[in-house]
């Protein structure tokens, strides 16, 4: 399918790849995803996402991965549904959030291609949220508060974010740093790919998620990303996401690639 297709759309041609070292990406097999939400929970625990206060809603809570359910619009027995886990798509080309931030609180790491958010520099203007076509950015509407005793279980590698700033998935960048530290301690220049896996990928019980370096020709992600059934969300916008989805079902691929074209088959 059209995974590396830069299309013929006049507005949004994707340029040649400019990252030289690595380009981390993810493959999500939608035919395997059961929508269990283990990735959400793992992400929240790993990244010190506080529990939502009782007054929060599904539109104000922080879920760096959000699972959407959609169906093919047919009735029983032809009805089929699919779960789309959507996190930051780590746009490679003209990341919409990077160019709009007025104070450089969003940056792309040129050595990994990971789009990072710098909470301590964020003004909380939310322009990046308005710019993101994947709605994958979340604002801290409340002060982060953990139930008594639970703060003991916080991950020491990740700083909790304060009220009034935006956050999002960064492919568990702290795990990459830990892998680099380990490699350095062992006298190696390169990390062992097995040492850097985001929490959501690790937690997925259906093994629907695969992670790795897209530039590494031998990697599983590189191979799968070029598969005929792989595609990216909103491919036409030309933002070059590094999260790929896979499905044998054509209607699922069409649904993922389309821009706001259909109505009525969405369930949250």
């Amino acid at each position: 399918m059209a995974n590396n297709d830069s299309r013929n759309f006049p507005v949004v041609a994707e340029p040649e790849q400019k990252f030289s070292k690595a380009r981390y990406g993810m493959i999500i097999d939608l035919d395997r995803c059961t929508g269990c939400g283990a990735c959400l929970v793992a992400c929240a625990i790993e990244n010190n996402v506080p529990p939502d206060p009782p007054t929060s809603t599904e539109r104000t809570g922080i879920t760096p991965i959000r699972v959407y359910r959609a169906d093919n619009g047919k009735s029983f027995p032809d009805n089929e549904s699919v779960f789309f886990p959507v996190s930051c798509q780590q746009c490679d080309h003209h990341a919409p959030c990077v160019s709009v931030c007025p104070q450089k609180a969003v940056e792309v790491d040129p050595t990994t291609g990971i789009v990072g958010q710098i909470p301590v520099r964020c003004l909380g203007c939310r322009y990046c949220m308005a710019a993101c076509p994947y709605h994958a950015r979340y604002f801290n509407w409340w002060d982060p508060v953990w139930p008594k005793g639970m703060e003991e279980a916080l991950n020491p590698d990740v700083s909790p974010r304060m009220r009034g700033v935006v956050e999002k998935c960064n492919f568990c960048f702290h795990r990459l740093q830990a892998a680099r530290t380990k490699a350095a301690a062992e006298g190696k220049r390169e990390i062992d790919p097995a040492d850097y896996v985001p929490a959501c990928v690790e937690a997925c019980p259906a093994k629907a998620m695969t992670f790795g370096d897209l530039l590494d020709e031998d990697s599983e992600v590189s191979r799968l990303s070029k598969d005929r059934i792989s595609f990216r969300l909103l491919e036409n916008l030309g933002t070059g996401p590094k999260v790929y989805y896979r499905s044998e079902r054509e209607w699922v691929r069409t649904l993922g690639e389309e821009v706001v074209a259909t109505k009525g088959n969405v369930h949250g």
């Binding site: 007054t55 322009y127 604002f139």
Partner: protein
Amino acid sequence: MDSHLVARGVKRASPGRFVMWIIPWTLILAIGLYATYLCLSRGLNQTNMDNRFAFGLWIFLDLSVIALGAGAFFTGFLVYILKRDELRAVINSAVVLGFICYSGAVLVLMVDVGQPLRAWFTFWHPNVHSMLTEVTFCITCYLTVLAIEYAPVVLKNRKLKEIPGFLVFEFELHKVMPILAGVGTFLSFFHQGSLGGLYGVLQGRPFAFREGIAIWPSTFFLFIISAAAAGPSFILLSTWMVSRLSRKKLVSENVYRLLAKISGALLTVYVFLKSIDTLTWLNRTAPGFGLSGMSFFLWAPFNVWILFVEIIVFGLIPAMLMLVGSGKLRLGWLVLSSSLVCCGILLNRFVMTIQTLALPTLAFDKFMLYTPSWQEVATFLFVVAYGTIIYSLSFRYLRLFPQETDLKQNPRRS
């Protein structure tokens, strides 16, 4: 009681009447202040904005008041640069309105951002690629210019004028006024445009995204022209309203007619360019994303009617009325037309802010709406009350309309 502060040769309402007028606005101001306090102390969870509707009523308000406040820069440009001396009759009022609009917008922005104390970060590590950086720089500079332009109007107060130092300072300020008007015009042009660019550059939001010239999307230019068109209309409307409320002739009728003519001419250009822009977007930009532009108008309540109302009812009709009828029609028609223009600018800013965010981009996502919380509405009204009080005080104690005394003595000249 305060007659020694009121300008010579003009009559103002009795102090009691004035206080009665101010009290309700002060009450709204106080409620707004409390709502602002709640938002700043407890956080933006006091609003009904959410992760999808990251912008809401306040950004709509910001865009709207800055567009309406454009009358200040455009009148300054016409008076000091193009030497249209007839408009000196409204320049002071325009400056006060501009100051109110811009300072009100900055006040609300400070509540709207999650970390207001970090506002200076934009100046410290600015992202030069962001339209918001341009907006921040220009608005800050222009608000300073407006404050300096406001100063001589204040210093001309009957009592303040008695202080020789103020008089000299005011005289010196007058000398630099054309320079300030030039700087103000440049800054205004840029940030009005950047506010449009704010949405036009959003490649991830096909509804708002526009192609353009070099780094500027078409909305950059459309916002400049629409603001320049709405500014004079807002001055016309506000002058007429103040005139009706105070039951005084403030400017001669030809000033109203000139404002209408300028607004009508600019609005005609705007409607023409906006139509071309809409057609280009429908036939080129949207298909470039592989979709039909009309698909965005399938979602009630934002159907095609909104496009029709914006371009025809609030655009073409007042443009024609003012352009063709500025010399012939009765004043009431011109006031109605300028009201339509102001509604048009509000609707345009509403569409860019609210409709853009309401529409889903992912095909499996929902269309969403949002209703502002009472705290958002109260903060919105806070700005309205703040503006009304500042303007009322300025009207009472400063000479906002230089023609007023003359018109009082020679009513026929109106």
